[in-house]
């Protein structure tokens, strides 16, 4: 019944790469985060292609910001480097101009509100949709502003929007954020910034609670997923996981982005 509904929705929406991946693969979805313009300004596309070639299912492309509140030291550092490399939203859209001829994976842009506002929120959505971006994650866009101001613009350009939930998020609020989200729901495994030190990737109890709620969206678990063991552990309950910090680390001193990506992904999936 659930699958049938999804198929109908999929047909109605014609094309949603995000929905498609959950329909066709359905489990152990691996979403990899990478910072645009890292490790080199021109590595954005190279990394994306390497992710596609080596088994990632979704790409979360980070737009670097000077003050990334939700990020731990590793992703902060990659953002600073990317900014120093000259990365901007404008530059990113130039790099992505024809990426769809080479990358077919769903791609979501992750970033903070301020640079997006300066770019112009509607222009940002229009340009993202035009190059073939599938969805957005803007962790500091609160649901009140989403509902009253920005959500309709995001919808107008047929972009998915993903909200975050944490172990502290009440059940009522999880339902609300799930309802507002399209594509997937981002379950932060433990209250922390990205790459957080909490040893246990995600409490089973929390993930089981989310699973038991039979949410509208598939659930991807992020923060603290770093290797095969932690990936497999969350995939036993959730629909998949997001890896960011560990991947960024693996690129840190890389001289061959493609080879490093391959090594990293085979260590997670292998």
């Amino acid at each position: 019944m659930f699958v049938k509904l999804l198929i109908i929705e999929y047909l109605l929406q014609k094309m949603s790469r995000l929905k498609d991946i959950f329909l066709t693969k359905r489990k152990s979805i691996l979403n990899i985060y990478c910072t645009a313009g890292y490790p080199h300004l021109e590595s954005t596309l190279e990394v994306m292609k390497a992710l596609q070639d080596n088994g990632a299912d979704i790409i979360e492309l980070g737009m670097p910001y000077s003050d990334p509140l939700a990020d731990g030291p590793v992703i902060q550092h990659s953002s600073s480097l990317a900014l120093a490399n000259g990365m901007t939203i404008k530059k990113l859209f130039e790099q992505l101009k024809s990426f769809r001829s080479e990358v077919s994976l769903p791609v979501v842009l992750m970033g903070y509100m301020n640079p997006v506002l300066q770019y112009g929120f509607e222009k940002f959505c229009a340009d993202a949709a035009a190059v073939g971006i599938d969805g957005l994650i803007l962790p500091d866009l609160p649901e009140y502003e989403f509902e009253t101001e920005y959500g309709p613009i995001i919808k107008k350009y047929n972009l998915d929007f993903v909200f975050l939930v944490t172990p502290e998020t009440s059940e009522e609020r999880v339902r609300k954020l799930d309802n507002l989200s399209t594509g997937f729901l981002y379950a932060v495994s433990s209250s922390s910034t990205t790459g957080g030190g909490n040893s246990k990737a995600a409490s089973e109890e929390y993930l089981l609670k989310l699973k038991g709620m039979e949410l509208k969206n598939p659930v991807l678990v992020g923060f603290g997923i770093k290797d095969k063991a932690s990936f497999d552990a969350v995939c036993r309950i959730a629909d998949g996981a997001i890896i960011g910090t560990a991947f960024i680390k693996s690129l840190e001193n890389s001289t061959d982005v493609n080879a490093s990506t391959k090594t990293f992904l085979s260590s997670v999936l292998g």
Partner: protein
């Protein structure tokens, strides 16, 4: 446009002053900020809270602070100039009004661990002080660069039992210390209260901090009535970095249109020098540290590092209340360069025997920029004392024979 006359003092339910404010926070902070939002007003207006708050303000902080008629300064500038002596508060600045309020709030929320950010160290010291007073663990984030520049305040915090953690990200100054404090709060969602030092941050912080600081203008009204026969002055002047002393000094005059409100920002080496902190002149609408306000940023939306000789004004944003006062024209914004602030500081020292904080010296410079009538009553918020700025004053004496 406005149908019902809304008070300038209070934001709407979502925390907006006009178009500025709100709570632009990641979900990881939602629970804590929402808890504050739903409880802060109820808690701070409880009778027992108010009793303890007033008691500590009086016997521990030393309130009410004097409203001092500065006779020689008045003769010089041909107006009736009063100084609101926040420099006489315990710890040497107005900052403690807010930390006393927030520590009482944190206790009532059952929090065991206090975090704070600090630039020059004044808010850090004020926070470490109230944590010692209440026996709560205190962690202060301070930019690595500021730790080097402000060794005495670092020592004070440590002596008071606080742990000072260097912020090594970004530009290693106040904005980054604020980022680190927010990240700490994300990582410690259950037992920790974040004492923000200014009228910035996500709703309800700007309103909560303004309410705690509003004791400044509440006292001013009573003292003016006694000294001049009217509660209302012609001018209230205060410096603005994030804007907490200005918010406190303006608060009970915001809806009194006859009172001119003057906010003085730090122009650094000059508004157009590239080394300035004059946010209303250089900033555009943006989001920083959880609220929408005016912000110094590049055209790509990256936050620009400000500059001021005064570490307390060295912040790339401004509280949303002040952005609204600026945009609506309710307050007049001026700026003072590093040099003008130094001159004003030496002038106050020589004319009145008071060495002001460099921050407050910016407010004093406004005296030179306004043409007063001789009957005008002018109140300047002397937000802090100058002990912490002695190094800068010594340097100035060496360079200029002040």
């Amino acid at each position: 446009m406005e149908k019902e006359k809304q008070s300038y003092a209070s934001p709407d339910e979502q925390g907006y002053y006009g178009q500025f404010g709100g709570a632009y926070i990641p979900e990881m902070l939602h629970q804590n900020v929402e808890e504050l939002r739903t409880k802060y007003l109820e808690i701070i207006y409880e009778e027992s809270f108010q009793q303890e708050f007033q008691y500590l303000l009086q016997d521990y902080v030393g309130r009410p602070t004097p409203l001092y008629f500065a006779e020689r300064l008045s003769n010089r500038y041909k107006a009736n100039i009063f100084l609101k002596r926040e420099d006489l508060c315990h710890t040497g600045a107005h900052k403690i009004n807010n930390t006393i309020g927030q520590i009482l709030l944190a206790q009532r929320l059952g929090k065991k661990r206090i975090i704070a950010e600090t630039g020059a160290g004044q808010h850090g010291v004020a926070t470490a002080t109230v944590c010692a007073l209440k026996g709560l663990e205190c962690i202060v984030y301070m930019g690595e660069k500021d730790i080097e520049r402000q060794a005495p305040n670092v020592a004070r915090m440590k002596m008071l039992g606080a742990t000072v953690i260097p912020a090594t990200s970004g530009s290693k100054t106040l904005k980054d210390a604020t980022n680190e404090a927010i990240r700490d709060w994300i990582n410690n969602p259950n037992d920790t209260h974040y004492i923000i030092g200014s009228v910035v941050g996500p709703h309800p912080y700007p309103d909560m901090v303004a309410r705690f600081q509003s004791v400044i203008s509440e006292e001013m009204r009573n003292q003016l009535l006694e000294k001049t026969g009217s509660e209302l002055p012609n001018y209230v002047i205060a410096c603005v970095g994030g804007g907490s002393n200005a918010a406190g000094a303006f608060y009970h005059f915001l809806d009194e249109p006859s009172v001119k409100l003057i906010a003085v920002e730090a122009a650094g080496e000059g508004v157009n020098s590239g080394k300035s902190a004059a946010t209303t002149q250089l900033g555009t609408t943006g989001i920083l540290h959880g609220s929408k306000s005016l912000l110094m940023q590049t055209e790509d939306g990256q936050v620009v590092e400000p500059h001021s000789i005064s570490a307390g004004l060295d912040y790339p944003g401004i509280g949303p209340l002040h952005a609204h006062l600026f945009e609506s024209g309710r307050a007049t914004f001026m700026s003072a360069t590093d040099k003008k602030a130094l001159t004003a500081a030496f002038e106050l020292a020589k004319f009145e025997g008071i060495i002001p904080a460099l921050e407050s010296a910016h407010a004093l410079h406004a005296l030179r920029m306004i043409n007063f009538n001789k009957n005008d009553v002018v109140v300047i918020c002397l937000s802090g004392r100058g002990d912490k700025d002695l190094a800068a004053y010594m340097m100035a004496m060496m360079n200029n024979n002040q």
